[in-house]
C-alpha cells in the first residue's frame, strides 16, 4: 500500500483534475442549495468530499472506455464527460436530460462519452463493467470496462462472482471501490467483516489509493489501467475517501463518528496546495476557475429550467 505522493504530474493534468473536482464540488453544492426548493424531484446522492476518486480515475479513461455506475453518479459521470447541462436537465426532469427525463439522478447515461448507464440496485452494475470487458476482449477492441461501486456493495455476492469471472478470463476491467466507510448510516465495521482489498487480492492485483488525494488516485489508477491495457488482466483499485454529506439529500453528514476535518481532508485544497507549491499553478488561477465554473453552473441551470418537461404521451402507445 503506497500512500506516498510520488506523482510527477504535468500542469495540464493537474489543472484538469482541479477543474473536474471543482465542477463536481460546486455542482453538488448548488444542488444542495436548490434541492430544498423542490425543483429536482429525484433523490440525490452527493459526492462532496469524494471528488478525488472520480477525477483521478477518469483522467485515464477515454470516451471508448465503458464506465458503469451505481446510485452515487454525479461525480464520476461528470468526470467521464457527461455535459453538465444534461445532468442538470435530468435532475430537473426535462427532456433535454441525459436520460430524457426517464432516469433521474440514479440513472445517468451518455453513450458518446462511454457511460452506458447506471443502476440504483446496489452491486449489480459491478457485473456490467465486467461484461463490457468481455466484449472488448472478444472483439479485440481497445477499450476497458470499469465497474464503480461503494464499500457496502462489496457485501453483495455479485461483487465476488464478477471478480472471479474477470480473473478467470483475465478481462480488461478495472474495479473501483469508492470506499467512504458508510452504507447510509451503517459504518463499514458493521457491514464488512473482511478487509476489502485483501479479499480482492485473492482474485487479482490490487492497489490502495488515498481517496481524498487526487494525485494518489491518479497515480494508482494510471498504473492499474496501464497494466489492464497491456493485457495483464483485471485490477482492483481501492480508494478510501470521506463522505461529507448525508447519504442522500442536501444536508451535511451528522454522524458523530464521521472523523472529517474539512480543512485537512479536502481533495481540492490538497491539490491546490500541491500545484502552488510545485509552481504548476497560482492562487489567482484557482479563484478564476471557481468563478468560471459558477458561471457554467448558472448556464446549465438556465438550460435545465428553460427546457421542456416531457409530454406524457410518451406513456401511451
Amino acid at each position: 500500500m503506497n500512500m506516498e505522493r510520488t506523482s510527477t504530474i504535468k500542469r495540464d493534468d493537474g489543472l484538469w483534475l482541479l477543474e473536474r473536482m471543482r465542477l463536481v464540488r460546486q455542482t453538488s453544492q448548488r444542488i444542495a442549495k436548490l434541492y430544498p426548493t423542490n425543483v429536482m424531484e429525484t433523490p440525490v446522492h452527493l459526492c462532496i468530499g469524494q471528488e478525488a476518486v472520480a477525477a483521478g480515475v477518469c483522467r485515464h479513461l477515454g470516451a471508448v472506455d465503458k464506465l458503469f455506475l451505481g446510485h452515487r453518479t454525479h461525480g464520476p459521470a461528470l468526470c467521464k464527460g457527461l455535459p453538465l447541462e444534461k445532468l442538470m436537465a435530468e435532475l430537473y426532469g426535462r427532456t433535454t436530460g441525459c436520460s430524457h427525463a426517464f432516469g433521474g439522478s440514479m440513472h445517468l447515461i451518455d453513450v458518446e462519452h462511454g457511460l452506458p448507464g447506471s443502476s440504483a440496485i446496489v452491486g449489480g452494475s459491478i457485473a456490467l463493467g465486467t461484461g463490457a470487458a468481455l466484449a472488448a476482449q472478444m472483439t479485440g477492441q481497445p477499450f476497458v470496462g470499469v465497474s464503480w461501486f461503494g464499500d457496502a456493495a462489496t457485501n453483495a455476492g455479485v461483487f465476488y462472482e464478477s471478480m472471479n469471472f474477470a480473473a478467470l478470463r483475465r478481462l480488461p476491467v478495472l474495479f473501483v471501490c469508492e470506499d467512504n466507510g458508510w452504507s447510509n448510516v451503517m459504518p463499514k465495521s458493521a457491514h464488512s467483516a473482511h478487509d476489502i482489498t485483501s479479499v480482492a487480492a485473492q482474485f487479482m492485483p490490487t492497489s490502495c489509493a488515498d481517496g481524498t488525494d487526487v494525485l494518489s488516485v491518479y497515480d494508482l489508477a494510471g498504473a492499474a489501467l496501464r497494466s489492464i491495457r497491456a493485457g495483464e488482466g483485471p485490477r482492483f483499485l481501492h480508494c478510501k475517501t470521506k463522505r461529507w454529506m448525508k447519504h442522500q439529500g442536501p444536508d451535511a453528514c451528522d454522524l458523530p463518528d464521521n472523523g472529517i476535518d474539512r480543512e485537512r481532508d479536502c481533495p481540492i485544497r490538497k491539490l491546490e496546495a500541491f500545484l502552488a507549491k510545485a509552481g504548476l499553478a497560482q492562487a489567482n488561477e484557482f479563484s478564476a476557475l471557481e468563478a468560471r465554473i459558477e458561471k457554467q453552473i448558472d448556464a446549465a441551470i438556465r438550460f435545465a429550467e428553460t427546457s421542456p418537461f416531457p409530454s406524457t404521451d410518451l406513456l401511451e402507445v
Binding site: M40, E41, G93, M106, V122, A156, V317
Partner: protein
C-alpha cells in the same frame, strides 16, 4: 403456544384511539416481540436510527433486532435457517424491488421448503417489504411486485390498506407457521385510523368492504383501495368497494357475492398489467359468476413499462382518485377502460 389463543376468526373491537399505519405496524411488531420471545427482526438497516421509516423505532427488545449487510439473498436464507431452528423471524426490506435480489431464496427455498418435505418442518417466516413510488426514483425503486409472488405456491401475500388491518394482519402473519409476504405501501404510512391497543388477529382470505354500492364491484388492494375509496366518496359513486386484504389466499366468495349483486367488476391493481392479481381476479370471477355478469370484468393497472423518473411522467404513470373516478363512471355508464392497449406496449 403463545399464539393459540388468538383465534383468527375473531374480529377485535375497534379501538378508542387513532394511530398512523406506521404506528400500527410498529406497535404490532413491538407487541409480537414482547409476546413471543421467538420473534425477532432482521434486515438491512433494520437496526439504524431511522427504524425502517419509523416502523421499528424504539422497540422494546432491541437485542432482537439484527442489522445486516447488503446481502439480501443470503440474509433470506439466514432467516429461513433460523425459522427452521425454532425462531420466528420477521425479515424486513425497505423496498420490495430488493426482494428480487433474494428471489432464489424466496421462491426456491422459503416457498418450497414445507412442500419438499411434506410439512415435517414448518417455516414461520414473515417477509416484510415496503412498496415505494414516486419522487423520481425510477424503474428500479418503484415497483409493486405482489403479482409475482402471488404466483408462487407456498407464499401468502398480505397487503393491508388501513392501520387497523395492518396491525391485525401482522399478528396473523407472525402467528402463521408458514411463510407470509407482508407488503406495506409507503404512501399509506401517514394515514390514520382506529386501532385497538391489544393483540388481535385478522384472518387471511377475508376481504373487507370499504364502500357499499349496487352498480359496480371494485376490487382493489393496498394503496389502490384507499384511492378508490376517495374516488367513491368524493364522487358519490354507486360502487361496492372490496379490499381483499390478502391477495393470496383470496376471498373469492365475498367478491363473487358482490358481483352477483352489481353484475360488473373492475379490478384496480397497482402492478404491471400482464398476468398477476388483476388477471387472476377477472379470470376467477368470470368462472364463478359468468351468468351474473352484464359486462366483461375490467382492469386498471400500470402501463406495461418501467416507471419513468420525471415528475410529469410519474404523475401520468400512476393513477389518482380523480382518474379512477372517471374510469368507474365510464364503466357505470356501460363503457370500457382501455387497459388492453397498455399490455401491448412491450411489443414496440
Amino acid at each position: 403456544m403463545p399464539w393459540s389463543k388468538f383465534d383468527s376468526n375473531h374480529e377485535a373491537p375497534k379501538g378508542d384511539r387513532t394511530l398512523t399505519y406506521c404506528q400500527a405496524i410498529r406497535e404490532a411488531i413491538d407487541q409480537a416481540m414482547c409476546h413471543d420471545p421467538r420473534v425477532f427482526c432482521i434486515g438491512l438497516d433494520a437496526d439504524d436510527k431511522f427504524g425502517v421509516f419509523g416502523s421499528m423505532s424504539d422497540l422494546t427488545h432491541r437485542e432482537r433486532v439484527i442489522g445486516t449487510p447488503i446481502s439480501e439473498n443470503a440474509m433470506t436464507g439466514v432467516a429461513l435457517g433460523a425459522a427452521l431452528s425454532g425462531l420466528r423471524p420477521v425479515h424486513v426490506h425497505l423496498r420490495n424491488d430488493f426482494l428480487l435480489v433474494a428471489m432464489d431464496q424466496i421462491v426456491n427455498y422459503v416457498a418450497k421448503w414445507e412442500d419438499m418435505f411434506d410439512r415435517q418442518v414448518r417455516v414461520p417466516l414473515v417477509i416484510r417489504s415496503i412498496i415505494g413510488r414516486g419522487w423520481g426514483c425510477g424503474a428500479q425503486h418503484s415497483q409493486s411486485l405482489h403479482g409475482l409472488f402471488a404466483q408462487i405456491p407456498g407464499l401468502k401475500v398480505v397487503m393491508p390498506s388501513t392501520p387497523y388491518d395492518a396491525k391485525g394482519l401482522f399478528f396473523e402473519a407472525v402467528k402463521d407457521d408458514s411463510p407470509v409476504l407482508f407488503l406495506e405501501h409507503r404512501w399509506l404510512y401517514k394515514n390514520t385510523g382506529d386501532v385497538p391497543t391489544g393483540i388481535y388477529t385478522l384472518p387471511f382470505g377475508k376481504a373487507n368492504r370499504l364502500h357499499e354500492g349496487g352498480s359496480l364491484t371494485v376490487v382493489a388492494p393496498s394503496l389502490a383501495a384507499m384511492h378508490c375509496l376517495v374516488a367513491c366518496e368524493q364522487h358519490g359513486l354507486d360502487v361496492d368497494l372490496i379490499d381483499p386484504r390478502t391477495i393470496k389466499p383470496l376471498d373469492l366468495p365475498t367478491i363473487v357475492a358482490s358481483v352477483q349483486k352489481t353484475r360488473r367488476l373492475l379490478v384496480v391493481d397497482y402492478d404491471f398489467p400482464f398476468g398477476g392479481f388483476g388477471a387472476e381476479v377477472c379470470a376467477r370471477v368470470t368462472e364463478a359468476a359468468f351468468a351474473h355478469l352484464d359486462a366483461p370484468p375490467q382492469r386498471i393497472s400500470f402501463p406495461d413499462r418501467g416507471m419513468p423518473a420525471s415528475g410529469p411522467l410519474e404523475r401520468a404513470y400512476y393513477q389518482t382518485p380523480d382518474r379512477l373516478a372517471a374510469a368507474m363512471r365510464t364503466i357505470l355508464e356501460g363503457g370500457c377502460v382501455p387497459v388492453g392497449a397498455a399490455n401491448e406496449l412491450s411489443t414496440r
